[in-house]
């Protein structure tokens, strides 16, 4: 049993981590809140006083706000649909008996380890370049006119690149979940003559529901803040300016810190809404 002494030792052991994270959370957060209520232009006059909720109103009413929301939702939604659907199919395929399963697993997981700037640049130049890109060669081979991917189909291109990066994550987690499925249950259903689709809907999908939820929540949090993929491909042009990128531009490119900070507060609120759901699931798991 834990004694009073061991409890105070435990508190001491936790202290550095708790204090550091508390500081990491509170200091910048307070500063962001503080700036968000100020007109603050570091390169054009500095601190120009309090403006109340002006920045919050201006951020939302600026002409780039709704397109940014739309771009964010399209990227997050598009990538989620692609990675979850393909992830389920791929996980089911990898769960089947086959030769060289370990090697295939490695091939499928590999994109996850490629740093975002590399995958964005490789896709942008070697695949999506309208003249020398591999996709252009492929299009020409079939007699079609090559596409300028990142300008004509910018959103599709970004969704493709990001999906390629996150498909391994979804697949790996769903595969882990599938492998914990009781195979006897499936066999029984198979023997009873339940068709493949029925088995999928009534046994596999319900079993995966928790893993799918977790994939969706974790990916959403990461996808809301993708940055490098846009930074090195379109630089926010052609309708790919997400909320994250818009805030980045306000803060560092146009140095309008007050406005950017108000945007930052919106981003924090948005992320927290998603986070609450994730924490509930994770919290339940802790009790078990």
């Amino acid at each position: 049993m834990a004694t009073e002494h061991s409890r105070s030792v435990a508190r001491l052991m936790m202290a550095p981590a708790v204090v550091l994270l508390l500081g990491w959370m509170l200091v910048p957060l307070t500063m962001t809140l503080y700036f968000s209520f100020k007109k603050y232009l570091p390169l054009r006059g500095g601190d120009l006083g309090w403006v109340g909720f002006d920045n919050y109103v201006r951020f939302v009413s600026s002409s780039s706000f709704w397109p940014a929301v739309q771009a964010t939702l399209m990227i997050v939604g598009g990538v989620l649909v692609i990675t979850v659907v393909l992830g389920i199919l791929l996980a089911m395929l990898l769960d089947q008996p086959m030769w060289g399963q370990g090697v295939v697993r490695i091939l499928v997981i590999a994109p996850f380890f490629v740093m975002p700037t590399v995958s964005a640049l490789v896709w942008k130049n070697m695949f999506m370049d309208p003249v020398n890109g591999l996709l252009a060669h492929l299009w020409r081979f079939f007699g079609a006119e090559p596409i300028s991917w990142l300008s004509e189909a910018s959103m599709t291109s970004i969704i493709m690149i990001v999906s390629w990066q996150w498909l391994p994550f979804a697949t790996l987690i769903l595969l882990t979940a599938i492998q914990s499925l009781d195979s006897e249950q499936l066999e029984a259903a198979e023997m009873d003559g339940a068709p493949v689709l029925k088995r999928f809907y009534h046994i596999i999908l319900p079993h995966l529901s928790r893993a799918i939820t977790i994939v969706i929540l974790i990916q959403t949090i990461f996808l809301l803040s993708i940055f490098a993929e846009i930074f090195v491909t379109t630089g926010g042009a052609f309708g790919t300016r997400t909320l994250t990128y818009l805030i980045f531009q306000r803060v560092l490119e146009s140095q309008n810190v007050g406005l950017g900070s108000a945007g930052g507060v919106y981003a924090i609120i948005l992320a927290n809404i998603v986070a609450i759901f994730l924490m509930r699931i994770v919290g339940k798991n802790l009790d078990a």
């Binding site: 708790v18 500063m31 380890f113 700037t117 981003a267």
Partner: protein
């Protein structure tokens, strides 16, 4: 009983899985292949797959022109430093939570997780400003601290889930045998905890290596790691496919190899123990 599978079905599965696997891996394979071509061969039409003259000159040019080793060294220091520092801070915390749990342990763990959800862009300017004021902009030390802080919740969580699997009875048995707290930690717990700590180190090293928001925004020249090195190829150098490929291959090769070792821990680490 294992399901009886016909050889035909197994062959079919194998063919399909390999085809899909190779398709997903293809961009990486293509990058590696292209890195050994000359610039002319890299943009040849139709594209050359294996029938080209293999050359290493791109690697030499990339190293010469952009001093790859310096960026690599920065990546190693930043990813390694932040991981080691994080583990040093997280081990005692995770240890205390796993072995001396209190009513608040769960709340503290969830709160730590919530700090991970803080979108980086929301605190970009404060951190940027603090870095300028403290003279940390474009220093490796500054990035070590920031990356340590953003990964600390994951490190604590992973260690916690590993430590929790160490049976408490073993500790009691050691105590019965008269082991002191120091002996208990040194001879009983540490050997059992090392695999978990190793997996944690590996995964966090990878995450820190690939981190591309803070490393791009807080470095310029001196402390820039490989993420920034590659971003500098954005344009117009990016149009030199062979050199871009050589640079990319050098940036991802170390982590691809480490990643393959860590794939089993990946699930646990990235789902905070919710999927095992």
């Amino acid at each position: 009983m294992a399901r009886a599978v016909t050889t035909r079905r197994k062959s079919l599965n194998t063919a399909l899985a390999w085809a899909v696997g190779l398709l997903i891996f293809f961009p990486i394979l293509w990058t590696i292949l292209t890195s050994f071509k000359t610039e002319a061969q890299a943009i040849a039409s139709p594209p050359l797959f294996l029938n080209f003259d293999w050359t290493l000159e791109n690697y030499a040019i990339v190293q010469e022109r952009s001093d790859y080793m310096r960026f690599l060294w920065n990546s190693v220091i930043i990813a390694g430093g932040s991981t080691i520092l994080g583990v040093i801070i997280a081990v005692p915390a995770a240890w205390a939570m796993a072995f001396v749990p209190s009513k608040r342990t769960k709340d503290i763990l969830l709160w730590m997780l919530s700090t991970k959800m803080l979108p980086a862009v929301g605190v970009l300017y404060p951190i940027y400003l603090l870095f300028i004021r403290l003279g940390l902009l474009d220093t490796r030390g500054g990035l070590v601290v920031v990356l340590m802080l953003i990964n600390l919740p994951i490190i604590v969580w992973m260690l916690y889930t590993y430590f929790r699997e160490i049976p408490g009875e073993i500790l009691e048995a050691a105590r019965m045998d008269g082991a002191t707290l120091k002996e208990e930690i040194l001879y009983v717990l540490t050997p059992m905890a090392i695999p978990g700590i190793a997996s944690t180190v590996l995964l966090n090293f990878i995450l820190a290596w690939n981190e591309a928001f803070w490393t791009l925004n807080l470095t310029a020249v001196d402390a820039a790691p490989l993420t920034a090195f590659i971003a500098s190829y954005s344009s117009p150098e990016g149009l030199f496919f062979a050199k871009l490929s050589a640079a990319s291959t050098m940036a991802i090769a170390p982590i691809l190899i480490l990643g393959w070792f860590s794939q089993k821990q990946l699930v646990r680490g990235l789902t905070f123990g919710a999927v095992k």
